[in-house]
């Protein structure tokens, strides 16, 4: 059941990523889940907002904290279609979020290679959920850019 629930929420993150794709943004999407409910959603808006900090995760962290009424996301899981970058991993580290589930790995920009200690020591990480769907969306995006 755990795996199916993860896939369900990752599909929601993929919906968000497709929203980004349709806006000509690098297609990364996120949902944050607390007690089995989605409390925040987001997709990459760096071009639309002219702002390098407008990654999907950053927006969703801010939004989830607003919903919970506190800045720590203990008890929450973030589902993100791409392995977080250094910036987003640093933010997730400050948030003390309990679990990070990502789809596709990011060998060029992912935090696991460049900032492996960014997270809170108690945070669990799981990669590869709906990996192919998440990676294909990125590949389609960059193929159309060429």
């Amino acid at each position: 059941m755990e795996e199916n629930r993860d896939e369900y929420f990752m599909r929601q993150a993929l919906f968000e990523a497709k929203e980004a794709y349709d806006r000509d943004e690098i297609p990364v999407g996120v949902v944050i889940v607390y007690k089995d409910r989605i409390i925040a959603r987001g997709h990459n808006l760096t071009e639309t907002l002219n702002d390098v900090t407008a990654h999907a995760e950053m927006q969703a962290i801010t939004s989830a904290a607003g919903v919970l009424g506190g800045k720590y996301l203990i008890g929450c899981t973030v589902y993100v279609t791409l392995e977080p970058c250094i910036m987003c991993a640093g933010a997730l580290g400050w948030s003390q979020i309990s679990r990070i589930v990502y789809g596709a790995a990011d060998d060029k920009r992912g935090f696991q290679k460049f900032a492996p200690k960014a997270l809170h020591p108690k945070t669990e990480i799981q990669g590869g959920v709906l990996q192919e769907d998440c990676a294909r969306l990125m590949q389609d995006f960059f193929r159309n850019k060429r």
Copy 2:
């Protein structure tokens, strides 16, 4: 002259840090300078905004991009009273900012130890400007917290 100019702008960042201090926020302040003019200022607001992403640098990056009308901060220098954390260094990396000048080092959370490749390869880094003033403000803050 270069050193004096750096000290002048770091004093401006210190004014911002004192604003944070007066709000009972960890006292970190920032200014971003382009062509010898301050185009963005910010101080830590994580408690006030209930948001771990509300570091001084993050706000100032967003603000400076708005002033310049583009998301890249090439040609800009950021003056920050404390060595940036992993999150902020990741954001500064995405921004391709040309120069980072900081005051006090942060051995526990600073990016140079935990994410040394966070920045754009062309970004210059200089630490230690008004280091004592910057560090003293932090020490005063945490002493009062005990």
